[in-house]
Symmetry: C2
Subunit: 272 residues, 2 copies
């Protein structure tokens, strides 16, 4: 089973297009967890247990773990080990936005696909296909390439016009048409840019998008779903992090996250 | 003292434009080190002790450490701690090619500038200045932005022509003219592209370049120095990794690395 099959099966099983970002900013953790040996992992575990039937994926962002050095990386591993053992049908995404040249990528591959054992990873396309070949050859893992990012200033380079196209469109087309021999490439497109999202959907009717930027960053769910869905009403997942995992910072945080996840899942489904 | 001052002082003190890449590919380590508790660190320590008077910087690439998970990250920390304590005048570069949006970068900043305590880091510019602002505001750390990378396929996006300029030139200009308020930005340009290196030097007489790609990747030192030097015969550092650190994989590896480092340092200096 390749990554897209696993992802689509999870979407169907849980009737959910919601991916939860496991970004445990230490300063926002409930105070009763802060003094545990593995606070990031303990927080994640309770969020996972309370939302696993509501999501189509979990996406920890590496930065929140690297911040704590080797101890943080160990908690990232504990998180993925827990997910893979207890909920093996839920796809995992390492949000790491990595890219290096040629064989140096083998180190990142060993980190992501062997040490952490993730199903998929986010990557930065700037170095080109030839550099990313070690990733592209992994047929059964998903590769999410940054295309149009959700930040307010993403247009500085991504919106540069070349002939009749913008750079993010050129990257979307190259990834879709020339990098995707193994059907393992996906694209990251921010919910904060519904027009660009619609552009890319029109250009690429069959690609699957990871869409961050709803909730705290301000992306609108109805606009996002309208722009992102393919002709089957599929082809996307929507990530939400802070809005869900920090719904409460009291002892009820996991239950509050569950309630918020239900709301967001249903809100997405109601737009379809 | 900002990063550029520290770098220029180290160049003068050691009369060297050579940066050594500490990329301890485990499969290439001398066999007598492989069973130690911290093989990557022990290897690095001996390379550092035998070359510290010949270099203007050390650049560990994070991928070679992440490959070993939290234990690798700990050895990366041991390496930087050793450098900062024993050779505090030698600039350190974390080659991580990181980039994320806004506050997520704070995690990478905590990893690089606090946990590891590095003097500088390599970054990917694709997300734009607004995303990289948390890094840009660190006045006393160096930020090396990827511009024209050394890999054979780097032209796929970097050489796209926009009007009369190529994307790598636009990025070089933006970083130099609009991102560099704190005089903490530098550029990464591959030795495998001497014409492009000369283009960027002409465009930006005052920027400093980190130049990988000599040695194993095939970049020529004479061509590189001719293309890279500014009007003072400065403004660049040349990185070499495998060619130096794996000069021998026997017990004499550190001495062999010293000999190779002398050759490369002298070879660069003889071109000036």
């Amino acid at each position: 089973m390749n990554f897209l099959q696993k992802l689509n099966r999870a979407i169907e099983t849980n009737n959910s297009f919601l991916c939860v970002g496991l970004d445990p900013d230490y300063s926002k953790l409930p105070s009763h967890l802060k003094n545990l040996q593995y606070p990031l992992f303990e927080f994640n575990k309770q969020i996972i247990d309370s939302t696993h039937d509501l999501v189509c994926g979990y996406k920890p962002n590496s930065a929140f773990y690297e911040a704590w050095g080797h101890e943080g990386i160990y908690q990232l591993k504990l998180t993925f080990d827990y997910l893979h053992q207890k909920y093996p049908h839920i796809p995992t995404i390492l949000d790491a936005k990595r890219a290096d040249i040629g064989n140096t990528n083998l180190g990142y591959i060993q980190f992501a696909f062997e040490y952490l054992g993730v199903d998929s990873i986010t990557l930065n396309p700037y170095l080109g296909k030839e550099a990313m070949q070690p990733f592209l050859s992994y047929k059964n893992r998903g590769l999410f390439f940054l295309c149009k990012s959700s930040n307010p200033g993403s247009g500085e380079f991504q919106d540069i016009t070349i002939g009749e196209r913008k750079l993010y469109q050129i990257i979307a087309q190259q990834v879709s048409q020339n990098w995707n021999q193994n059907n393992n490439c996906l694209l990251v497109v921010g919910a904060t840019y519904p027009r660009e999202l619609a552009d890319i959907r029109q250009l690429l009717p069959n690609m699957t998008f990871l869409i961050p930027g709803v909730g705290s960053q301000g992306g609108d769910i109805q606009q996002t779903v309208n722009a992102a869905k393919n002709s089957d009403g599929k082809g996307f997942i929507i990530n939400s992090s802070r809005n869900i995992i920090f719904a409460s910072n009291e002892k009820d945080f996991a239950q509050a996250a569950r309630q918020r996840a239900i709301e967001v899942r249903d809100s997405i489904n109601s737009c379809l």
